[in-house]
Amino acid sequence: MSDEKILFPFTRIVKQEKMKRALLLNVVDPGIGGVLIKGEKGTAKSTAVRSMEQFLPARPVVKGCAYHCDPRFPKRFCADCLERIANGEKLETVMAPMKVVELPLSATEDRVSGTLDLEHVLKTGKKKFEPGVLAQANGNILYVDEINLLDDHIVDLLLDSAAMGVNYVEREGVSFSHPAKFVLVGTMNPEEGNLRPQLLDRFGLSVEVESEDEINTRMEVVKRRITFDADPEAYVADCQSELDALTKQIVLARELLPQVAVDDDAVRMAATLSMRFNMEGHRADITLIRAARANAALDGRTNITKTDMTEIASLVLAHRIKRKAFEKTVFDDAEVRTCLSKL
């Protein structure tokens, strides 16, 4: 978010392929529903998320709209845009890069959901809505660090908007709603306790990152970091071509996405996996398909293969497995393969 601080580039993060893949899948198809990244401190969780801005592609937005409405979907326009259209104004389209909007833990409710514009009321005696973080997040990535420590009532707010794609504000004298469709990315340290199940289920994907045990990998991490710290600007400039390539890959994948065929085999794979892992409801099923499709598109293919499904299965299923209290379950990738091989 900040312009002044240069972030360690995404492409130079050593390993952590699963985490990177999970994030990219969401950029390709924001409908996947976000990522929850669990891991100890110092595993490049936050770095990866924050530095995504370096390669996120631009997207069309309505010029001057506080909620970055997407001109391609007039049905989802905010009240302001609708009013402008009603007034006969022609909306201009500009390209704006997707952003990572951060929600600080200490954020208050009114700042998150938006509130009464005090200055406007005092000056004019008329009510006006002042947009909050959720407005900024529309069409972007909403990032919450240490999401498991977020206050309950803020979590409730996120749940509501994540579920409906709309932020309904009915408080502090304001009655307003605006589109709030965002990719929710959360990072957390599981030692501090887990997430509420309702919030957990809203995450399309989850990934557990571990610190690297291998000496060589660790050395590589340190080496890169030291080079970066010595001259961040030069370091980022050095890998600009990698970042550009990544942007290109994403743009391509997005174009390819609608062409990826979801055939009966893919549907069968998703349904079978969900049954096998005893998934509640149908979010897992649908997310399996979406993630597999995005995975195929990211690799430049238009068909969903078993490999796609195997690669993304743990991302979708691991955090949704119902486990009894005080029982440990470890997600087993081998089981996914066995399950799929029978089809």
């Binding site: 009240a79 005696g125 509501d160 009915e170 408080r171 501090e192 409801g281 897992a284």
Partner: protein, 636 residues
């Protein structure tokens, strides 16, 4: 500034797979305005919200008004019309959610997460049909004829029974048990989201068909009669199921009328009553903690699809001949949209005897219990206890209301302040001036509320005597059992152990509750029991902890056999000294629970005396094995 009502989901009502009884309930709620509330339960991702939002498709005259979780009272019930007051000085009632909901639907997502006070007040107003506003210079009453549709996630095991009772109808959304069903749902969902939805047209046509049916039923409803016999049947049913109060009976009668009207009949049949009972009484009956023998899921049968029944009424003549029973489903019998496990069997012959009616419903509920008991285990993340809230003093937490400011440096509630100042603007303003003038007496400050976290600190005597008698397993089981029955995700758990060598804070209070069982497994054994010293150490730790965490309710659970062997003052008797310290120990706001881990002949009265000295509760370890007993530990 205007808001539009929730844009109804485009997903068609009839496109929702299975869940016939839930759909029937929605139809009834549309038809009969006397049915004021419909509660949709289900695990996450079972189309609860989709179902609720599709209601406009079958009742196109009405819209859905969404109530966000963090709604404040003045927005919900109404308050002074700010702009008008500033402009003209008139004190009038402004717009409110309930006002907008009049003749429409009111939708509450995750209803269990609402502030219980708000929810109760809301339901009271809806049941009454009138909203009374008495706040901020406003005294007004307005009509609100609305139907509340609420969804609740089934991972919450605790819902206020009073709130539950306010809902006339309650249904549970379920997933199909077969791969084919799941596949179909995926297909419908994907094609729907892609916008190219070939079957969509069909579903939308079906929706229109139902809209017509609903409209007709609405007209017919005033003519539908319910015979005395039926009412008697319903009353007997309620008694049998131990339903408290008479809201259940009334709801059942009204639902039965709606069902009859939907089928174009003017008289309520026994079947209507039975089917209505299934929708209205499940959440109200007293569930017996019966231990059913395990049966296979598949044997439960999918029964009949009630919802389907409306369309296929004539075709079902044959099915009607069959005896009412829970039929095991064979695949051939089940059409994609009639997968409704646990529903009643095809409606039986018209005249059932009353006892049959009762046993029929009883039987079905038994089956539900059986299935539910499969899920009766606590899962990680389930919330089984009531959430507690407390007024926050540190400006954090949810802003729930405003009050006259009393402090010098208030946490200003701007909206309330401006509202308070609004009516006086005409007087305060000099001609030609715009803007709002605030004066000192207008100042309102925010009252904030916070969720209270419970912290359980286990103070465990792990001296040799405990280990020798092999009591560690029992101790662990008891701790886990206690936590399970009070398992709320946001709770903290800590463990302090004591023996002669160490007094250890093995686990500082943490939300990672699951760590506890690992730590107990690895506990080292020591000699001797320095009970007095443990008390002092605990006191030294917990008092600063409580200062740092003012929003936590601390429960200290002491597990000991009471055989203190080491005193602080070597001249004193260890047990007497410990009792004395316990008597004088003053940790404000902490609850004590003492659990006697002693066994058989070695048992002594010390733990009981300790409980008395600590003004805490007392339990025997062996009593805590049963989960219902373990739950008692936490009861106030």
């Amino acid at each position: 500034m205007s808001v539009e009502a929730v844009k109804p989901s485009r997903y068609p009502f009839t496109g929702i797979y299975g869940n016939g009884s839930a759909k029937t309930a929605v139809l009834c709620a549309c038809v009969n305005p006397h049915l004021k509330g419909l509660l949709i339960r289900g695990s996450s991702g079972t189309a609860k919200t989709v179902l609720a939002r599709s209601v406009c498709n079958i009742d196109p005259g009405r819209t859905i008004v969404n109530v966000p979780l963090n709604v404040t009272d003045e927005q919900l019930f109404g308050s002074i019309d700010l702009e008008a007051a500033i402009e003209t000085g008139a004190v009038e009632l402004g717009d409110s959610l309930l006002h907008r909901a009049d003749r429409n639907f009111l939708y509450l997502d995750d209803a269990d997460l609402f502030d219980p006070r708000t929810l109760t007040a809301l339901m009271d107003a809806v049941l009454d049909g009138n909203v009374r506003v008495e706040r901020e210079n406003i005294s007004a009453t307005y009509r609100c004829q609305t139907t509340v549709i609420a969804s609740v996630n089934s991972s919450r095991k605790y819902i206020d029974p009073h709130v539950m009772d306010c809902f006339d109808l309650c249904v549970t959304m379920r997933c199909p048990e077969n791969v084919e069903g799941r596949e179909e749902i995926i297909r419908r969902n994907l094609s729907f989201e892609e916008g190219d939805f070939p079957e969509g047209e069909n579903f939308l046509k079906n929706d229109t068909e139902y809209a017509v049916k609903v409209a007709k039923a609405k007209v017919l409803l005033p003519q539908v009669k319910i015979a005395q016999v039926r009412l008697k049947e319903i009353a007997r049913l309620c008694k049998k199921l131990e339903v408290k109060g008479c809201r259940g009976a009334i709801a059942t009668a009204e639902t039965a009328k709606a069902i009859a009207a939907l089928e174009g009949r003017k008289a309520v049949s026994t079947d209507d009553a039975v089917r209505a009972a299934m929708l209205c009484l499940d959440h109200r009956r007293v569930v017996k903690n019966k231990h059913h023998e395990k049966k296979l899921y598949s044997a439960l049968g999918s029964g009949e699809n009630e919802f389907h029944y409306f369309i296929n009424h004539d075709k079902d003549e044959k099915a009607k001949q069959s005896k009412p029973q829970l039929v095991p489903a064979t695949d051939a019998q089940v059409s994609p949209d009639s997968v409704v496990p646990m529903d009643l069997a095809p409606p039986g012959t018209q005249e059932l005897k009353l006892d049959d009616v009762v046993s029929k419903v009883g039987q079905t509920f038994d089956v539900i219990d059986l299935v539910e008991s499969e899920g009766g285990e606590f899962y990680a993340g389930d919330e089984v206890a009531k959430r507690q809230y407390r007024i926050s003093k540190d400006r954090r937490g949810q802003y729930i209301k405003a009050r006259l400011s009393s402090s010098k440096n208030p946490d200003i509630a701007f909206d309330a302040t401006v509202r308070a100042a609004a009516p006086y603007q005409i007087k305060r303003r000099t001609p030609g001036e715009t803007g709002v003038r605030l004066e000192k007496q207008d100042l309102r400050e925010k009252v904030r509320e916070k969720h209270v976290t419970s912290t359980f600190l286990f103070l465990l005597d792990n001296s040799g005597s405990l280990i020798i008698r092999n009591r560690m397993t029992a101790v662990k089981a008891a701790i886990i059992s206690m936590l399970k029955t009070h398992y709320v995700k946001r709770d903290r758990v800590g463990l302090m152990t004591f023996n002669e060598e160490h007094i250890d804070l093995a686990l500082p209070p943490t939300r990672a509750v699951d760590q506890l069982s690992d730590i107990i497994d690895k506990l080292a054994v020591g000699q001797g029991t320095p009970l007095s010293e443990a008390f002092i150490k605990l006191n030294d730790y917990i008092v600063p902890y409580m200062l740092k965490h003012p929003d936590e309710q601390i429960h200290i659970v002491l597990l000991t056999d009471g055989k203190a062997t080491v005193a602080l003052d070597s001249n004193k008797d260890p047990v007497k000294e410990a009792l004395g310290i316990a008597e004088n120990l003053n940790i404000p706001g902490a609850d004590w629970i003492v659990i006697d881990t002693g066994l058989g002949f070695t048992k002594c009265d010390t733990p009981k005396d300790l409980a008395k000295a600590l003004r805490g509760k007392f339990f025997l370890l062996d009593d805590l094995k049963a989960e219902d007993k373990a739950a008692e530990v936490w009861h106030q």
